[in-house]
Symmetry: C2
Subunit: 185 residues, 2 copies
DNA sequence: GACGATACGGAGCGTGCGTTCCGGTTGTCA
DNA sequence: TGACAACCGGAACGCACGCTCCGTATCGTC
């Protein structure tokens, strides 16, 4: 990884940047040749650096999700967990909805990238935020981190169906809030 | 349509039945040859009755959505609109989630079948039910029929991501209920 | 500057799938 | 029952796309 030739390292970076842009715009459906052309390299070069199109896609998506995780970790010690949590929830949805790569990653295989192995950082950070919000009574206690990720997936679908309608996400947020009568325990 | 030969009419029905089953199970991804084989006909026969795979898919999906519309019309004069509406909402989601054809139809082109032209029956019937539920104060008034269909799409995504978790849909239902503080007008 | 190793590019292969085409078959009607 | 039209089956076509292969170019080193 470090003993690469200079041009190889350059090309690898160009491929990653092009893939990030192309996948974000058109999702997994973008042909690999398009990415290669956008990067200014041949298709063979892409395959020298990534074993498959799917691997390249995963690399791009996981990098983005890791950013979400980092943001969550930065909020882990905030003083008003309820507010912070709900704001974060909405923000993640808004950001992810602008990136078709992430939407496709979730639709594909029911969101494998969000679930198993990789993406664990995001999972634990999100669960932490949720638990703190629940501990101060801001969020209903009958859901866990897995439920939350499922809700994010759903909100992304809503956003894709009717973009920009902020108040639809608010319906879910209202449903998440702890209120008399909707707790199941 | 009526002056068809007997075998043609028979085959058309077989194709429709096979397509309904195959699309429901595997969605739009199922190869047309599979449908033809399942129907016990050749691929050419399928194309004699439907101009394209997409047209066959639309026919199947619209038929199913029309069933939903009919069910909604049957509830239009019920005496407890709030309860009826929310029950219907949940029931549609549960039924649709068992049918990958419908899920795919929504994902594809952001749910074109739900939106424009065809499927109008479902739209108006759903809007009617919603309005009645709102008029008795059972459902928040800052949403309309379009919002509602978007929410259905989202709930389907949730259901697909983590199947069978009934309480996630309940979160949305709780968000839909009219309660102090979440109205925007 | 020359030489070996490394990487590049893009033509080409294999595959899967939607769609078409046509020789044979079957239903319909006089 | 004969003959014509409608219909059928499935082989074949075209296309798109993931992936590989190899002759050529570039880099790092002595």
């Amino acid at each position: 990884m470090e003993k690469m030739r200079a041009d190889a390292r350059r090309n690898r970076a160009k491929v990653l940047a092009a893939a990030e842009e192309a996948f974000a715009a058109d999702g997994l459906a973008v042909p690999l040749d398009d990415i290669a052309r956008l990067a200014g390299v041949g298709a063979g070069t892409v395959y020298r650096h990534f074993p498959s199109k799917e691997a390249l896609f995963q690399a791009v998506v996981l990098e983005r999700i890791e950013q979400f995780a980092e943001e969550a970790r930065g909020l882990a010690t905030a003083e008003n967990p309820g507010e912070v949590f709900l704001d974060y929830f909405v923000r993640v949805i808004k950001q992810a909805s602008l990136n078709r790569a992430i939407c496709d990653a979730l639709a594909e295989t029911s969101g494998h990238a969000f679930k198993a192995g990789a993406g664990d950082d995001f999972r634990v950070a999100l669960a932490e935020l949720l638990q703190r919000a629940q501990s101060v009574g801001a969020v209903r206690t009958d859901i866990d981190g897995d439920d939350l990720r499922a809700l994010i997936v759903g909100c992304l679908a809503v956003e894709r169906y009717s973009p920009g309608s902020r108040h639809l996400v608010r319906i879910v947020v209202d449903g998440l809030r702890a209120s008399t009568g909707n707790q199941v325990t």
